[in-house]
């Protein structure tokens, strides 16, 4: 979706402001939100892409005005309600009021914490040979789906070069909507900044994205 989350190349947000000695969490609730989202992902209630889509789907004014973990919280609440795991009445009451569907991988317990130390594996068996190889010139498609995509707007319709093949992975565009893995080849595609931003761009700059094969066409 063409949401406000897709920020690459936007102007006007001001300076980057690093914080010295930043704590892991600024408020105790931020840690609880992070842990709940990890847990509900690990037990199969949501997935990484569905969570991203839920955050992107927050109204732009809410997205921009909310802190990072506030966005995570609003998104997980919305998702759990949409997926009938939590009722709006229960959020209101602050307690479970009725039966909810079981989770695909059951309750998240202490035994599950260890596997949260490392990232899940998104590698999948290829469905066919890769269409592109390093050195190939490609153009990113001009797509504007209302659904989730990982092709940022600032590269759409631009010409780049395939630099490396990174294997075959879960396709976020379908996984976000619980429509299956649909494994796709993943490439690093490099763009010259002047192709993206025009003649005034930094001549020393190259930008790459990680592009799934359906985002690309041969030229």
């Amino acid at each position: 979706m063409n949401g406000v989350h897709d920020m690459g190349g936007m102007d006007g947000f001001g300076k980057v402001e690093p914080e010295a000695n930043e704590p892991t969490f600024h408020h105790e609730w931020e840690g609880r939100v992070m842990a709940m989202v990890r847990a509900m992902g690990a037990n199969g209630g949501v997935n990484i892409d569905s969570q991203r889509f839920a955050r992107e789907s927050l109204p732009p004014e809410v997205y921009l005005a909310s802190s990072y973990y506030k966005k995570w919280f609003l998104a997980i609440e919305n998702q759990l309600v949409e997926r009938n795991m939590v009722g709006a009445d229960e959020l209101e009451a602050g307690h479970s009021l009725h039966q909810s569907p079981p989770l695909p991988r059951g309750k998240f317990t202490l035994d599950d914490v260890k596997r949260c130390e490392t990232r899940a594996n998104f590698d999948r068996q290829p469905q066919g040979p890769a269409s592109f190889k390093p050195g190939d010139k490609v153009r990113t498609k001009n797509i504007n789906p209302l659904t989730h995509t990982r092709l940022p707007r600032y590269v759409r319709g631009h010409t780049g070069v395939v630099e490396r093949i990174n294997g075959c992975h879960v396709f976020p565009d379908t996984n976000a909507h619980f429509k299956g893995d649909h494994p796709q080849w993943l490439y690093t595609v490099v763009f010259d900044a002047r192709d993206l931003w025009g003649d005034d761009a930094d001549p020393t700059l190259k930008v790459s994205i990680e592009a799934f094969e359906p985002y690309l066409e041969k030229i």
Binding site: V16, F25, E28, W29, R52, E77, H95, S96, I209
Partner: protein
């Protein structure tokens, strides 16, 4: 921003913010439904507060600075190379290490959200997830570097890696001069979090606390 350094889950505040109340309500609901064990949530929080942080990445960088064979393996397949090191925590697929050279400086961003190599660097800092960095890194990286007090030579090529998939990136910064013969442990002290994102450079020996 007000800092709340209280990490006790059941500590009672006299005034609870609306967000705190809502977060507690959701945790209560998920617990009552048997979806999560709150002790498991405590363990996740503790893991990121005490165990997983930029020290992991710093040790990998220091190892690459002292061991050419490891460096080669790291640049070829970072996940595999790191998982052969017993003393550093494991990392998931697909970690990619990118090397800074006198000709080329690498910088990592996630314009769409906040993708970041958690196992190597811990949870990302607020600025990494905020609009100014996400919007400008791909268009004006030198301006962003200036916000961090970093200036590169005019002809240094800048490569920005936008993490738009499940690949993750760690920058292998250049080893500072004047560190010949230093041990891995001592070198790791020079490796800052930002130098592994590409928004900073490693400390120089003179910046070390004696």
């Amino acid at each position: 921003m007000a800092h709340d350094h209280d990490h006790h889950h059941d500590h009672e505040h006299s005034e609870l913010s609306e967000t705190q109340l809502r977060v507690r309500a959701l945790e209560t609901i998920l617990t009552e439904k048997g979806y999560v064990d709150p002790k498991a949530l405590d363990a996740i929080v503790e893991m990121y507060e005490t165990k997983i942080g930029p020290r992991n990445g710093a040790r990998v960088v220091a190892k690459a600075w002292t061991d050419p064979a490891f460096k080669q393996a790291l640049l070829a397949d970072a996940t595999q190379a790191i998982n052969t090191l017993g003393h550093v925590s494991r990392t998931g697929d697909h970690l990619i290490a990118v090397e800074n050279t006198p000709q080329r400086h690498n910088m990592v961003v996630c314009t769409l959200c906040s993708c970041y190599p958690w196992e190597m660097l811990g949870l990302p800092p607020v600025w990494y997830k905020a609009s100014p960095y996400r919007s400008r890194a791909v268009k004006d990286p030198r301006g962003v570097l200036a916000d961090f007090g970093v200036t590169l030579a005019k002809d240094t090529e800048i490569r920005v890696w936008d993490s738009t998939a499940e690949t993750r990136f760690i920058v292998l910064p250049m080893r500072p001069e004047g560190t010949d013969g230093w041990s891995e442990d001592k070198l790791a002290e020079l490796v800052t979090r930002d130098s592994m994102i590409g928004t900073g450079l490693p400390k120089k020996p003179a910046e070390m606390k004696s």
